[in-house]
Amino acid sequence: MEDATRSFGKGSLPPGPVPDGLIRVYSMRFCPYAHRTRLVLRAKGIRHEVVNINLRNKPEWYYTKHPFGQIPVLENSKCQLIYESVIACEYLDDAYPGRKLYPYDPYERARQKMLLELFYKVPHLTKECLVALRCGRECADLKLALRQEFCNLEEERQESVSAHQRSFLSPLAQETQIKLKAYLRNSAGPEILGYQNTIFFGGDCISMIDYLFWPWFERLDVYGIADCLNHTPALRLWTAAMKQDPTVCALLIDKNIFLGFLNLYFQNNPDAFDYGLAC
């Protein structure tokens, strides 16, 4: 993996300028926000280098890259710095040719951005669950809140899939479809996905919004809260489909290594960030 390099800590020398033809991402191997940016870099086949930062022991020079020392940050060969994971991902999609991850259609673009709003509580809630569990605390309320957020996403999935399909149908066919859906929901329960053929948040193919969501869903298992998806079959189908995506697969973090990192991280061990790297 491109990011399997030792992290830079306090006292380290800053890396030199970014060579032409390359873009650099300041990252951390287990950070979900940086994961978004790495997914986009990979999906678009962008030549890049990864500089990992020791988040518990940040190099002084790093504050010249980001005022608060956060990751991810992109740095290009013109010394331009871009931060906030969503902004970085959009920048990469705009600046680099090839496969566009955001749709061309302005309305569909706006839809993806509206979907991101639906997701905004998930990162905080998953982190709180993780911390609670790791500190031996109860987190039933947090898990309930997280499940509710997943239900909102599930509902949106089913609505948007229908709308997408409906836009191709005549009014009579649309009405029939709505009645059919209601019938299936009543008789067949939540497992109505058989007849729906768009499995990703943006349509038939994986797109930006899927990559922006993915890192937190990948972490549910290793955080010990995978059961929060128990009542959301469309979301489970989506995670299964995501795991088939070559980009997602290529960056999938080994569960044992992640657990090793988490163990050290919660012991406040600054070596946590390099766990699992060959010496």
């Binding site: 331009q80 902004i87 959009e90 920048y91 705009d94 600046a95 309305y107 673009r109 706006a110 509206m114």
Partner: protein
């Protein structure tokens, strides 16, 4: 393009579909977020109709336009709905011709979004100060607001330009303007007394045709705020 229409409240009939060639914005005359969208519509000369919503007595049908029940919302003649003020502004810039408010250059566009992030704590600070106006201790929050505003002053200082996106007015300026307009009207001016470049920026903004077309009447804003803080359903139509 009348923005002075009475707001629609609970029990009102839903409006019909949006006619071709027009875009509709669900708004409220004193909402800073909706003002962003109106600024972009005005700046780009987009033909639009405004339906004001009574935010203290929302029509049931409005939740079909936006499940969050918030303004602004755009609705086009294809029945497509777009909400979240920043998303509506970007959508309008993408769809409609004429002056582009967001830069084409990917880095400059990203820079505008980073400045937008820098601004992100200001709305809630201004709102909580507006609510506290009659109370004693706002000094803590005023300090916080000054701190956030200083970050913006730094941007202008580093860029050495009049506006946040360069030497001409662009999207980021419109996105942050509504709160600065309110700070002036509601006498939170001392929060910008240490930021000379911002003061120059505010003066330059007032000269912009879109900004000046949408400037609020100070008395009307104060009257609205007074009623709004008391949760009065008359607030949104104050002055009509």
């Amino acid at each position: 393009m009348s923005g002075s229409a009475r707001s629609l409240a609970k029990g009102s009939a839903p409006p019909g579909p949006v006619p071709e060639g027009l875009i509709r914005v669900y708004s409220m005359r004193f909402c800073p977020y909706a003002q962003r969208t109106l600024l972009v519509l005005t700046a780009k000369g987009i033909r639009h109709e405004i339906i004001n919503i009574n935010l203290k007595s929302k029509p049931e049908w409005f939740f079909k336009k936006n499940p969050f029940g918030l303004v602004p919302v755009l609705e086009n003649s294809q029945g497509q709905l777009i909400y979240e003020s920043a998303i509506t502004c970007e959508y309008l810039d993408d769809v409609y011709p004429g002056k582009k408010l967001l830069p084409d250059d990917p880095y400059e566009k990203a820079r505008q979004k980073m400045v937008f992030e820098l601004f992100s704590k200001v709305p809630s600070l201004v709102t909580s100060l507006l609510r506290k106006q009659n109370e004693e201790d706002c000094s803590g929050q005023k300090e916080e607001l000054r701190k956030e505003i200083s970050k913006l002053e730094e941007v202008l200082t580093n860029k050495k330009t009049t506006f946040f996106g360069g030497n001409s007015l662009s999207m980021i300026d419109y996105l942050i303007w509504p709160w600065f307009e309110r700070m002036e009207i509601l006498e939170l001016n001392d929060c910008v007394d240490h930021t000379p470049k911002l003061q120059l920026w505010m003066a330059a903004m007032r000269k912009d045709p879109a900004v000046s077309a949408l400037l609020m009447e100070p008395k009307a804003l104060r009257g609205f705020l007074n009623l709004y803080l008391q949760n009065s359903p008359e607030a949104c139509d104050y002055g009509l």
